[in-house]
């Protein structure tokens, strides 16, 4: 799926000529993001998570989201793999543990707060912002519902609020930006009984993750997901099993997705220019067809008259 999408983005970028972006694109292509070294991030340690869904519940509370149809302590939700929605900015999914079948593995899913977010690059009206604190925010008042961010995000995160058809609204986790500004920690990190979700400076979390892996190589696989994927993400992960077993895309480029999305973004003017032209010509063609049909009918009726 992700390949298809990236393939699509690449194709669009080739078709529309991402070279238009010039030096901006090549500067971003380095894959190194040095901005805001003190920015915050999160580290999820899948070996500590017990699937209690306290993080989901806390997220629901701090974001004043509607009560879910299925209660937070109901394990039936684990029967399917869920994605974040407009009413659940984070969800916990269950995966089989091939090494130890008695201990399923749980994966909390939410926005990864990318270093160089593809969503922000794809948004034609700049409704997304990567903040110096780390969280990637969006401005729902600016959003006009084109959903480019949904297509661009390599992690399938932004969700669309279908409840408001006339007021389009894209929603996603914002790492509890307001709470961080108040000196608090994000709701999920506070609620987690095992600190499986840990909040801190991204640089500290990278060190912590590396220390944990080095200290207990039997417990962890030697990989910090998010350190480099898609140009690096604010949310990092460590695991006892290979990440592909937990549904992670492990074929993402290390270069920020921005680069590929920029090509997609450059198609935006095309959308605005080609579409009217396209619809215009369809309209013209149909008018022409109508006119032709009218003429034809007149012609036929004349001929019919003659025959009479």
């Amino acid at each position: 799926m992700s390949l298809d999408r990236r393939q699509f983005l690449k194709t669009v970028s080739v078709l529309t000529g991402s070279a238009v972006l010039g030096p901006y694109t090549s500067a971003l292509a380095s894959g190194e993001f040095h901005g805001w070294p003190d920015r915050y991030g999160m580290l999820t340690d899948f070996t500590e998570c017990v699937g209690c869904r306290s993080c989901e519940k806390a997220c629901n509370e701090v974001n004043h989201l509607p009560q879910p149809e299925v209660p937070f302590d109901d394990k039936s939700v684990f029967d399917t793999q869920r994605r974040p929605t407009a009413h659940a900015y984070t969800v916990v999914n269950r995966y089989e543990n091939t090494g130890d079948p008695g201990k399923p593995i749980y994966r909390k899913v939410q926005c990864n707060h990318c270093n160089e977010p593809a969503c922000a690059s794809a948004c034609p009206i700049h409704a997304y912002t990567k903040t110096p604190e780390g969280p990637v925010l969006y401005n729902e008042n600016l959003c006009f519902g084109c959903r480019y961010c949904m297509i661009a995000c390599p992690f399938y995160v932004p969700a669309y609020d279908y409840a408001s058809a006339f007021e389009p609204r894209i929603v996603k986790c914002v790492m509890c930006y307001d709470r961080i500004r108040e000196g608090k920690i994000p709701g999920c990190a506070e609620a987690c009984p095992t600190q499986s979700v840990t909040f801190g400076k991204r640089s500290d979390l990278l060190k912590l993750a590396a220390e944990k892996i080095a200290k207990d190589p039997e417990r962890y696989i030697d990989h910090i997901y998010g350190e480099r994927e898609a140009g690096g993400t604010g949310w990092l992960y460590i695991s006892g099993v290979p990440f592909e077993q937990l549904g992670f895309s492990t074929d993402l480029p290390e270069k920020p997705m921005v680069e590929e999305v920029k090509g997609f973004l450059s198609s935006v003017p095309v959308v605005f220019t080609v579409w009217p032209a396209l619809f215009g010509s369809i309209y013209a063609a149909s008018r022409h067809h109508e006119a032709y049909t009218r003429e034809e009918m007149q012609h036929q009726s004349k001929e019919g008259g003659k025959e009479k």
Binding site: Y40, L43, E48, V50, G51, C52, R53, S54, F72, D73, D74, K75, G102, K103, P104, I185, A189, E190, C192, P193, T194, Q195, T198, F199, G200, K201, D204, L205, L208, E211, K212
Partner: protein, 160 residues
Amino acid sequence: MKKIVFCLMAICLVLLLVQPLCAGSDSNAGAGPAAPSGVSAPGTILLDSLSRIYEPVNFNHDMHTSVAEHCSQCHHEHPSAKEVTCTECHSITATDFRRSAKTGFIACRSCHAAIDPAQPGFPGLKAAYHRTCFQCHRDMGDVGLDPLSCSMKCHAKKKG
């Protein structure tokens, strides 16, 4: 079997945390480890310092000492702990150390307090408790299979 023992030890650690709170009995049931001289091991303890969502946990220390092999399976700073010294993981302050020498125990919460984002590797009180319990109770299947088990096995949900 060893896992069960270890599990019980974990609970023992939790007990240590709240030790200053409780006026426990001297009983030390079973064949488990004994408290160091001059220190009385509590019988049961009410773990209530985190009871915002759940009711406090009524922790049976006696039962856990009866199955634990060593106090340090739960109490990593236990005076008789030979396996791990505190300083292997982190430094403790002089004040904490003096208190430890005097009472034989440091409450968990005197080091493990609220989560500190500046020390992301250091467990807050809630994580210190839960990780300790889970090192056995997860293997026992009490946690990690059903979110309902939080309130079924250990602490009932608060009403209202």
